[in-house]
Symmetry: C2
Subunit: 404 residues, 2 copies
Amino acid sequence: MKEVIGGVCAPKGFRAGGIWCGIRKNKTKSDLAMIVSDTMCTAAGVYTKNKVKGAPIVVTKNHLADGHAQAVICNSGNANTCAPNGLEIAEETCALTAKALGLLPTDIIVASTGVIGKEMEIGPFATGIPQLADVLTYEGSQAAAHAIMTTDTKLKEVAVEFTVGGKTCHMGAIAKGSGMIHPNMATMLCFITTDAAISAPMLQKALSDDVPDSFNQVSVDRDTSTNDTVTIMANGMAGNDEITGEGEDYKAFTEALAFVTRKLSFCIAADGEGASRTIVCQVNGAPTKETARLVSRSVISSNLFKAAVFGKDANWGRILCAIGYTDAEFDIEPIDVTLSSKAGSLLVCEKAAHHEFSEEKALEILSEDVVTVEVEMHQGSGSATAWGCDLTYDYVKINGDYRT
Amino acid sequence: MKEVIGGVCAPKGFRAGGIWCGIRKNKTKSDLAMIVSDTMCTAAGVYTKNKVKGAPIVVTKNHLADGHAQAVICNSGNANTCAPNGLEIAEETCALTAKALGLLPTDIIVASTGVIGKEMEIGPFATGIPQLADVLTYEGSQAAAHAIMTTDTKLKEVAVEFTVGGKTCHMGAIAKGSGMIHPNMATMLCFITTDAAISAPMLQKALSDDVPDSFNQVSVDRDTSTNDTVTIMANGMAGNDEITGEGEDYKAFTEALAFVTRKLSFCIAADGEGASRTIVCQVNGAPTKETARLVSRSVISSNLFKAAVFGKDANWGRILCAIGYTDAEFDIEPIDVTLSSKAGSLLVCEKAAHHEFSEEKALEILSEDVVTVEVEMHQGSGSATAWGCDLTYDYVKINGDYRT
């Protein structure tokens, strides 16, 4: 497996694009993205567990019930959530997309991101969708990735090449997500494409099994969004024998998926609203995998520790405190904590107590862009990673003044 | 029942005081507090549920096991948590206090607050405790309240007068808590005194039943501290017949307790690290009381909503989002949300959707010091209140630079 360029257009037969259609007032940022496969895809999705769900989620779930889709339409600037006419707008958006592409509305994945509770208008979609359909290209991943950004400061895309049954396959994805990022479904939005052939049930299984260890392990602010959606479309154009069960081929597929989702999980955390550095927490030696997930998430979610990282303060007491209030059964006494980054590695807490360390070295380690907290629990073989970011003045600024 | 002055010294027979003894390097802030009853008290406590527990909690729990205590000794500047010699220091602190007061070490409540993981030294206690014992007064509540403050900007004390069986009783309390504030045991530290006579089991019951609706409903930053402790001592000097079961007298007692703890809960939230305004969330019509607690806490804990309040932004979508990700069973559809403050009241969300409102009026309401979010769930009779504060630049500043 190797990383390649091209994002969602790296797999054969996928076109994409993005334009400004008027959902945002400001013309400087595109607001409508489309991804289309030349042929019908098997497809799967996972969604937010928030009780407040964006109208597009209801429609997309419905459309993916048969395990098939051929296109994605997604706008930024308005989440189409808690809006009186939300379902109608989401349905109509699919109808317009289907018409422009010559597809059935039920084969369209629809998603929205932006402000909650603002009424949507169909006008911008009605003019924008046909225009967008006309400008799609096989190199359009970045344009689509740009159009789904909200407070993101960086475009998020990734692609890999891998082999299934002797055939070269590709998988690509674009994502957006910066604030309102917390398990479950940290992503906000991620659209994955692949030219591997895989049955709809195996595709859903692969995605559902992957998300607990990737996107659900990201937290920027513990706020689980109303619109989080991850979808994957597989058009089979790589020519491999369709994956219909577990085995070597499925394993290769899930490894590619894991690479793509973990890379984007990192990118989302790194681009957390206002973040100045990325925090990775790696937990090993946990009694269970689930405990490892919870402990690692607890560490990267602690406002106090996040603020300490912003201040480059090796305040390991806050790490231990966050481990300690994790809602899981384990022993606190044997736990060791190591801080590491490109600048080196430093044991700061041994057996849940202070371990003498050089403050100078700690400052060096914490001055890097990516800081890793290694938690060794010494009580089993469960391990997990979680991705987060520091808490900064800019987070407050961005969110104190978002809607106005 | 009426509010009175005097804090922990409002009840008969309680002396208190606070001095600087050298645990903090800086002499400008006192760091050692003592509260003593003239006679033996029934006593009860509740503590943090964090797996990492300060050494003083272990000792205090042990000392309160017999339901009796006569004095409190508490330092700020060092939490005595994850320190190698923690238990030894906590025991020795009790021994020194007992010696200075002529009591038994097992009748001493000990508590510490401050930095985690820093080794404690007994020196400052050895010189400070006898000095402090000499300067205690029946008007010393404020001195004690001051000595337990860490990043608190305001002294927190309260007292009430109430009647039990025809006798005038008093209850007073001091508290500290600003950062690392989250259920369970949001308080960090609160010491309550009363001259009412009440049996140890009923005192523990009253306290344990009260905390889920008071201190556990406060969140500043979702970080559950390692040292949270609430204790109550009742010396019976008011002369009422000892409360030994439920009934009128117990009811009067619990009402006084509820007033004291809710007032301090509000004060802790209002003095949240960096807070510019206080957020109160009142949930009514919930299917159960527990759901009401969870929903109200979810709202006041949302970083996104907290930042919106800082920005005076009536971003009700974030309120609904926070309600929606609460881990409880309920219907989101019938929920109404009203924002209110001294400046008026405004329905901003009706049946989980946008309700037209004046942005100008919303700004007026959100410009007040205390902002109340009323959530009417329309699906039962459960109700609860939670107290929080906005998320500001100063929170980040304080916590990015606390230890250095």
